[in-house]
């Protein structure tokens, strides 16, 4: 049984990727398969990749303060591109009030700066269904990545 497939990306122009890389490392160590899209990804590209890669979770990081418009675009793309079954988590410089608005948009988890790493990792794994559920959900033959970059697990 394989670990959950988690796609990580930074939408918009923000280049602060220290946190996202730390999470990528930690998720790999916890047995997840990380698909690391990296920087300057459009919300459309992120969702398209998640759908094509059969991701169990989309995780995005925004430290430029642009999280509300970018999350809005991401959630709209998710609806348009048949990714509605893929949970979304967002981390960044997100005030409590904005976290509430993000959740209202349908974002499944919000991790503001200061969220402890173990809590983030556990939360992401749970959202991604790390108990084996995704393997059952996944259609046969769809495992191989066909889009974007993917990491060895």
């Amino acid at each position: 049984m394989s670990g959950p497939r988690i796609l990580l990306a930074k939408p918009g122009l923000d280049g602060h990727d220290r946190g996202l890389k730390v999470i990528a490392f930690a998720l790999r160590e916890a047995g997840a398969e990380v698909i690391y899209l990296g920087l300057r990804q459009s919300p459309a590209a992120i969702v398209a990749a998640a759908v094509a890669e059969d991701a169990d979770l989309i995780g995005v990081s925004v430290l430029s303060g642009a999280h509300l418009p970018l999350a809005g675009q991401l959630m709209a793309q998710r609806a348009e591109r048949g990714g509605g079954h893929i949970p979304v988590a967002i981390g960044g410089t997100i005030p409590a009030e904005h976290a509430r608005r993000l959740r209202e948009m349908g974002v499944d988890a919000v991790y503001p700066v200061g969220s402890p790493l173990p809590e983030v990792v556990d939360g992401l794994l749970r959202l991604a269904g790390g108990d084996g559920a995704p393997a059952a959900r996944r259609a046969p033959g769809k495992r191989a990545g066909r889009h974007g970059r993917r990491a060895a697990s």
Binding site: G12, L13, D14, G15, H16, D17, R18, K21, V22, F25, A26, Y36, G38, L39, S64, G65, A66, P69, L70, Q73, T93, P95, A96, E97, P112, V113, G114, S115, P116, L117, P118, R149, A151, A152
Partner: protein, 552 residues
């Protein structure tokens, strides 16, 4: 692993506890229980040679003989957001509060060559800095600020030549000649590929643009530092003090080689190189690092590049205090952290300092937070007494031993980078990026385990609740900035005389292709109202855009 409650949670391992691991600095250098004269090889005479006097080679003790007694460091809080007029207002406020020089933060679209109305820019206009689309915008940023009297730092890299051009046009319009302008352009593209990630064009053409700026500046801007070679971002991205130092020096070497290949004279450009380091929380390690930096640069300049004039071997630096060491939890604690960091920068002999706002984990600083940062600098300068003498920690057995050790380790790492083909080659191979990412991961694990104490986070943390409470009135950039900027630029573009603008851009394209220095064409285009997006677009057409390879 939170440890809430009034100090009765789990406390971190201390040096006195039995069975503890060896004690080290934040960067892993072993620290003895006590240091004595015996820890300094060669005794007094050898130490005196390693130190020199302040203002004298090897500059360990500082670049100037009187240091702060002669002239205080420049208090240069980084600022900028929203529209040019918002930033102008904040600049005037800061100058009124006693800030002694300016440092401009640009928004991401400006840093990456997009105009405010560009769809790529929409979510990001005005958020992390000021939006600049034209020279008109730049002129508005400095409205009422005398450019012949105020030194300005520009934190701009991939689009540095473009932004410099808009600044020069703004100076022209306010009647200030180029030779009167003082300031610094960050213009350090290597660290963008390495850590900061606001690159635009591929490495080769990017280095060409950096060199064009330095060449132009050497001729036309005698009081301007056209580059600020920085290890700050690598450090903030997670590497340790030794790596920060080695990577900065390796970058400096790569730049000097590029400038020499262009035919520039070391004695001419080296005195105008400036450097930029982080100052984080391990006070003595940071001081030792900064002293070691000066000594290493002296050796590089004289031995590697044959510098003969003292000015060409004298390292001057700006210190940005560390943001990553500040916490979302119990944000007022960050005032103390920032104070320690500022003190470290001062004891380390910085020429210019920025102190982070205590709200750094949440937002760009409110007026209140940035004022407190400024007051931190002012109180240290005026009330602490540490400015009365140069390099006050010299002769400390610990500090001198640590300075020696950091220098030795950094030089070893510099040799490793040399063996990889130099900074540019190492960065292209992704090697130092890996060091940084691994170091960041280790630090995060240490935080989670409690091995690295963080007050308010893993020790003496708040109990219960939904997590850290941020500022009650978080700083928000005016949400209409993007639309207004885009509209303003559209109007200016519609109203400008297209002929000089087009001819400026054609000249730019021509000079770019022909390998001529792009600055004259950029200035001409900027003067004619060309936008940042248009000028960056010429370079995009010529160079293409860089995409970062996957890290693994």
């Amino acid at each position: 692993m939170t440890a809430c409650g009034a100090g009765r949670g789990s406390s971190p391992v201390t040096a006195g506890s039995p069975g503890t691991a060896p004690v080290t600095t934040d960067s892993g250098i072993p620290v003895q229980v006590v240091y004595t004269a015996g820890d300094l090889p060669g005794g007094e005479a050898a130490l005196a040679r390693r130190l020199g006097l302040p203002g004298e080679p090897p500059f360990t003790r500082g670049p100037y003989p009187t240091m702060y007694r002669g002239q205080l460091w420049t208090m240069r809080q980084f600022a900028g957001f929203g529209s040019p007029e918002h930033t102008n207002e904040r600049f005037r406020f800061l100058l009124g509060q006693g800030q002694t020089a300016l440092s401009v933060a640009f928004d991401l679209p400006t840093q990456l060559g997009y105009d405010s109305g560009d769809p790529m820019a929409a979510a990001d206009v005005g958020r992390v800095g000021v939006a600049i689309d034209t020279a008109d915008d730049m002129a508005e940023v400095f409205d009422g600020i005398p450019l012949d009297k105020v030194s300005v730092n520009f934190t701009i890299n991939a689009t540095a030549p473009i932004i410099l051009a808009t600044y020069l046009v703004a100076a022209e319009r306010s009647g200030v000649p180029y030779h009167a302008l003082t300031g610094t352009l960050q213009n350090d593209i290597l660290k963008e590929f390495l850590a900061r990630k606001a690159y635009l064009y591929p490495p080769g053409p990017s280095l060409r643009l950096v060199t064009d700026v330095v060449e132009f500046s050497s001729r036309e801007l005698p009081r301007f530092n056209p580059i600020s070679i920085t290890g700050y971002h690598a450090r903030e991205a997670g590497c340790d003090a030794v790596q920060e130092l080695a990577l900065t020096m390796a970058s400096a070497i790569a730049y000097c080689e590029a400038f020499l290949a262009r035919g520039l004279d070391f004695e001419a450009f080296a005195p105008r190189l400036s450097f930029h380091f982080a100052t984080t929380l391990d006070l003595f390690e940071e001081v030792a690092k900064l002293r070691a930096a000066r000594r290493i640069w002296h050796r590089v300049a004289t031995e590697r590049f044959g510098a003969t004039s003292p000015a060409a071997a004298r390292l001057r630096f700006f210190s940005g205090n560390s943001g990553t060491t500040l916490t979302a939890q119990q944000p007022l604690n960050n005032v103390i952290r920032s104070t320690l960091q500022c003190l470290g920068a001062v004891l380390g002999g910085a020429q210019s300092i920025h102190v982070m706002g205590y709200d750094e984990a949440y937002e760009i600083p409110t007026e209140e937070a940035v004022t407190l940062s400024l007051r931190t600098q002012q109180i240290i300068a005026l009330e602490s007494g540490v400015t009365r003498t140069a390099d006050p920690l010299a002769g400390s057995y610990f500090v001198e031993a640590l300075t020696d050790e950091i220098e030795a380790r950094a030089r070893e790492l510099m040799a490793d980078i040399d063996a990889l083909g130099g900074a540019a080659a190492a960065i292209e191979a992704g090697i130092p990026q890996r060091w940084i990412a691994e170091s960041a991961y280790r630090a995060e694990q240490q935080l989670a385990s409690g091995e690295r104490p963080k007050v308010g986070v893993n020790v003496y943390a708040d109990c219960g609740g939904d997590g850290p409470a941020g500022p009650s009135a978080p700083f928000e950039v005016d949400p209409l900035v993007g639309e207004r900027q885009a509209e303003r630029t559209r109007t200016r573009v519609a109203e400008r005389d297209p002929r000089p603008q087009i001819s400026g851009l054609l000249r730019l394209a021509d000079d770019t292709r022909a390998g001529r220095n792009v600055m004259p064409a950029l200035i001409e285009a900027a003067r004619a109202g060309a936008t940042v997006g248009e000028m960056a677009g010429v370079f995009r057409d010529a160079f293409g855009e860089f995409t970062e390879p996957a890290p693994w």
